[in-house]
């Protein structure tokens, strides 16, 4: 079985994409969970502001998700462009 250079580069790109998205998902997952936990605490303390707190939580989560989206972009670039 002859192994060509192109084949190895593609293999490395696939593994790289997997690792990029896999490891990149850990941080946002935990971070967004923390946001949700604190939002629950805030609603427990002040139930009247539930609507406002939900929106604040969503905005915070959207921001902390951006690193996950960067990982997704890099993974897709590795799969389709490189």
């Amino acid at each position: 079985m002859a192994i060509e250079g192109v084949d190895i580069v593609k293999a490395a790109a696939f593994i790289g994409a997997g690792i990029s998205m896999g490891l990149g998902a850990i941080g946002p997952g935990v971070g967004e969970g923390m946001v949700a936990a604190k939002a629950c605490e805030a609603i427990g303390k002040n139930p009247k502001e539930a609507g406002l707190l939900t929106r604040t939580m969503l905005v915070g989560q959207a921001v902390s998700e951006s690193t996950g989206i960067y990982s997704l972009v890099i993974a897709l670039l590795l799969l389709f462009v490189v």
Binding site: A50, G51, T54, R55, L58, V59, A62, E65, S66, I69, Y70, L72, V73
Partner: protein
Amino acid sequence: MGELGKLHQLIIPFFGHNITINLEVVLMTWIVISALLLFGFIAGKNREMLPRPIQALGELIVSQLYGLTEDALGKEYAKTYSPLICALFIFLLFSNWLGIIPHLEEPTKDLNTTLGLGIMGFVIAHYAGIKSKGFKAYAKEYFQPIFFMMPLNLIGEIAKIVSISFRLFGNIMGGSIIILVVSHLVYSVALPPFLYAFFGLFVGTIQAFVFTMLTVVYISVQVK
């Protein structure tokens, strides 16, 4: 075990492309739709001040979901969007529960169904956003915080469709595969009813609610 990955498809050639229709999914979707129409017809017929049980059930569903929409969107938008939200929730609920009846399968097990519903929610949310804020203010949000973040913001919005539809698909598909495989491993003794109760009824209800809530939330983020 051979049932895994078997699909009944109708493939129509169309100008060099193939249009594939998953017949089973279409049939199951129609079963859900006709069950819902029947339910709506019976619950809405001969309405009385003292509601009969089935009318009470219908009123309960509608009023609960109306309250939910009102909490998230406010009074003015709730009137517009609560019928959509209500229809979405009961459609998903019936769809996710359909698998517990033998020989029937959940239409939400097919990615086409969930992706279609996800795109529908996306389009409605962005239409609502443009309508309430005007196009200029809507477009300006994509250039926050700096202009060159535009492509990433765009991908972030599109990723929402992916996440909402793959969540439902993954849960229902995963659940039905677990039921199939574990039932096969234990020779269908004792365990399957509990698996159906957990993955079909419990997880199905939660995921239907999550999908509906997220659609409401996406609309509310856009209009406010």
